[in-house]
Amino acid sequence: MTETVRDQVRRPTRVVNTSVLRNDAREKLLGRTRYAGDFDVAGQLHARLVRSPVPSARIVAKDASAALAIPGVVAVLFGEDVPNNEIPTNTAGIKGRPLPPSWVLATDRVRYHGEPVALVVAANPRALAAGEAAVEVEYDLLPVVSDPERALEPDGPEVHEGGNLLSQWEIDRGDVDAAFADADVVVEGRYEAQVVDHAYLEPETGVGWLDDEGVINIRVSTQEIEHYRRIAHVVGLSDSKVRVQSPYLGGGFGGKEDMTVEPYIALAVQRTGRPVKMTWTRQESLTARAKRHPVRMSYRTAATADGQLLAHDIEVVSDAGAYPLLSGFVLLYITLNAAGPYRCDNVRVRSRAAYTNNTPGSAFRGFGGMQPVLGYEAQIDKVADATGQDRVEIRKRNAFTAGDRIPAGQRIETAVWLPQCIDAVLERIGPRPEPSSPDHRVGLGLACNVQPYGRVAWMNDSASAWVGCERNGDVVVRCGVPDVGGGQVSSLAQIAAEVLHVPMEKVTVHFGDSARTPLAGRTTATRQLYMSGNAVLAAARALRAQLVEGVGRGSGHATAALTLAEGGVITPDGVVPLAEVVMMCLANGVAINAMETYFAPTAPPVAQRVDAERIVPDFTFGAHAAYVEVDTRTGEVRPLRYVAAHDVGRAINPASVRGQIEGAVVQGIGYALSERIVYDEGVNLTGAFYQYAIPTAADCPEIEAVVLESGEGVGPFNARGIGEPPIGPCAATLASAVEDAVGARPTTLPMLAERVRSCIDEGTRS
């Protein structure tokens, strides 16, 4: 793969902005990294959930006696046995209406297929399986609602009392009706995206034990160690009596943002006093863990005759599934991003999320920034076609620039390198390949996106980091980040190494421990480099000043005459090696460590009508281009070559950035072409990977990641977040390429062969 780094604003750095070997790479490559499931504790029990086999029912009877009679079965817990069975939920709902409770274990009603009903604890896997099968639960079936629009009808079967509307948001910017009345062209479209699964390799897994201080310890695969508070609530303990550690994750993608195994492990440890391990099967994960929201989106877009966007009128219905989880926030992100990275002064968005008896929807890489790309990129192509404008030029012309306001009101404060991203992908995509047979057509697609990074402003987000020196000159970072595989920890080491002028291998990072590393928040929302990177940067800079101060006090030189550089502190008398610097600090009352907390900009919560100066910290922009080949007879779409460019402000580790982009493109190709969860009236039929079509290496094209660096971003060294943004444009890019190839554009995901073929047939007929 070609490396293309266009660095416009480069202050010289030594470690940052270079593709250093990540500090997790060697162990992972050698297969020696120990993931959460690789840890066992002597004497551990095993736990497993009894899950509802039906999507909607009243529980009329529960009986654990047969299970408890099985040798080796230690305990069976129902919801009634949980100290606080209601899980605290803080998603954005509807003003004035409390969110319905979510349960650790359903007590008298189940609302989706796979909902946990009982927890079985046993001495060995055999007894566990027998115990699970022997727990008797009697269900009285209730009506199922699996279509969100049906759920929102007045007579739709109620999933929760009080109606099925979970959340709604509105944007009303400018005068939309007047803009449509004055418009030269109006284009319309309906777009639909499906349910997909995170499909990480590492399943939900963890082991818990009680320590000598009475603290429940849980070592678990999670994106958020700060769930310890929720876990403590569930088991009725004080917050400080639960500790969560996250070793390196084998993938998260949002699927481990909500709790998975944690409360069950804690309950089992509390009940038995013994260590307990729980690992979900792939079938459990596919069937019952939260998914990406399927959406239906209607767009009407108005423009002038020369292709200037005048107005959008957008309606979105999102299927939240059976419980709130993060659906309100995901819907907010859909709403914020509905009009894309383009200036538009008149925007109306009406978005609603509905409860159904499907698997709950929640966080997934892209987090609502993803779904609308399918809509707004198709709309701008339609405007281009209707006005005779070039699809490239119309994007450049309408693209935001720094200082513009997004339709939700926030002003964009950093550079918008959308035109540069477009130029980069079109330059790199290369000549159009020849079709492989007379039945095949080749097309070129282009799509752009915008994705916020960092959490919404009223989360009052912060991240803390501790940086210190050992007496031999080693540098230690303590920071409570979970590392989901994106290089979160390694980037922190790079930042500390850069500021303190030591080589990477001299930096050790202790991470992901709610008891022993300063809390740094969840690894979600593309926030971790931004937040914890800024915290480590501040702490390392503070420590650097202290080290210089210590040498100043010890040597009598003014600190202005001293510089920390490679090898130690440079003084007029020569270089003081770092190990001696440390001793000079200690001898002169200067601390050899520093802790700093980085605070994201905050603002009050937005109202249901979203119009605010501050909603998110900042944005990342990108453009993708791809060639696809379409088999016009079968409708099969095969990506041939793919180029993705994002402005990351400044890349801390360009190789890691390219890895994020490549991985996101593969995941986005799966979303575009093949991945989906299939339901039959709320029953999830997709319980194994042979049914869930993740692209294989053989299905993926050559992918080139282009890393652009505007030098503007609110992360450390002006970095922007890149974890989520590159998944956004993939489906729209491939839809646009299919349209270029065959003259008809798929609007429903995934673009299965038969759908594309129908689309071609309709295009031919019309």
């Binding site: 896997p125 027998a130 099967t281 079968t634 093949s674 049914q691 993740i694 294989t696 299965l752």
Partner: protein, 290 residues
């Protein structure tokens, strides 16, 4: 879940007679295993829980490929990878080599065997449908004797074959058909998946006309089927006209819906696969001409 409950006995047979004795002793609870590429996934999914596995992958006589009289005889433990590279298969049964290239991934082709594939009876698998088009038969042995069973009726439905406990597929016999051309086409959602539709076609030309044609497909039913009516209608036609005559096949097929693909869509895919496989088979004949 049976995955954690399964414990089983395992024996590695050194010869066919030893394997047959072990299978006879094991009765209903015994299953032969070779590459394990079908049985082990079934066990992982909890759909099979054999108490006794008889490993036949090391039996030397099951790994050979020979020409015996009018047949190419392929040992049941020959792997898919070997089918794709063996010169005798390339010469006498190239359809099997074409088909085997579509099976799974290279790792699966390195382990999976032809005998395992036909005995497993997946309705979408590449080798049973190819054997049906080739009019191959299978040598079935048990502790009480040996017999030949034709490939077509051997497939009896989803994962159902004419194979009783204690019986072992030991060889696949493919009639030699000099002068025939062969084509294999399939559509799957992604590389290595079982096909939604596939077609295995053999053609003998008389001059520029089709003298004889065999068309077997998957995706249309619960087992691979021959399209006898289409075979008869194509016979005697010129090549170009025969390829065109496949159009309309979808309307003749009644394919059941499943949650992942509507029956009508599968029918259309089958039609395209058959058309392309007929075209390829005719081109294959012409390529073989001096």
């Amino acid at each position: 879940m049976s995955d954690v409950l399964t414990t089983m006995a395992y024996e590695r047979a050194r010869s066919v007679p030893e394997a047959l004795v072990l299978l006879a002793e094991g009765g209903e609870d015994a299953r032969p295993i070779s590459g394990g590429q079908s049985l082990v996934p079934m066990m992982n999914l909890g759909l099979a829980a054999p108490a006794f596995l008889v490993d036949v992958s090391a039996v030397p006589g099951l790994r050979t490929i020979t020409v015996e009289g009018e047949h190419l005889v392929i040992g049941a433990a020959v792997t898919h990878a070997e089918l794709t590279s063996d010169p005798l298969v390339a010469e006498h049964a190239p359809l099997l080599a074409h088909a085997a290239r579509h099976i799974g991934s290279q790792r699966i082709r390195n382990r999976g065997t032809i005998g395992g594939s036909v005995a497993h009876g997946d309705a979408a698998a590449e080798l049973p449908v190819s054997c049906h088009a080739l009019e191959a038969d299978y040598r079935i042995e048990s502790a009480t004797g040996a017999e030949l069973r034709a490939a077509g009726p051997f497939s009896q439905g989803y994962y159902q074959t004419d194979l009783a406990p204690g019986e072992l597929v030991t060889a696949i016999r493919v009639p030699l058909r000099p002068g025939h051309g062969w084509g294999f086409q399939e559509y799957s959602r992604r590389a290595g998946d079982f096909a939604l539709a596939s077609a295995a076609v053999g053609v003998r030309l008389e001059g520029e006309r089709i003298g004889e044609v065999a068309i077997a497909v998957t995706g249309a039913a619960d087992r691979p089927i021959r399209l006898g009516e289409l075979e008869r209608s194509l016979t005697g036609q010129g090549v170009a006209s025969a390829v065109r005559s496949v159009a309309g096949l979808a309307a003749e097929l009644t394919v059941a819906d499943d949650p992942y693909c509507a029956g009508a869509d599968r029918g259309r895919l089958i039609e395209v696969m058959v058309e392309r496989a007929v075209r390829d088979a005719c081109a294959d004949v012409r390529k073989g001409r001096p």
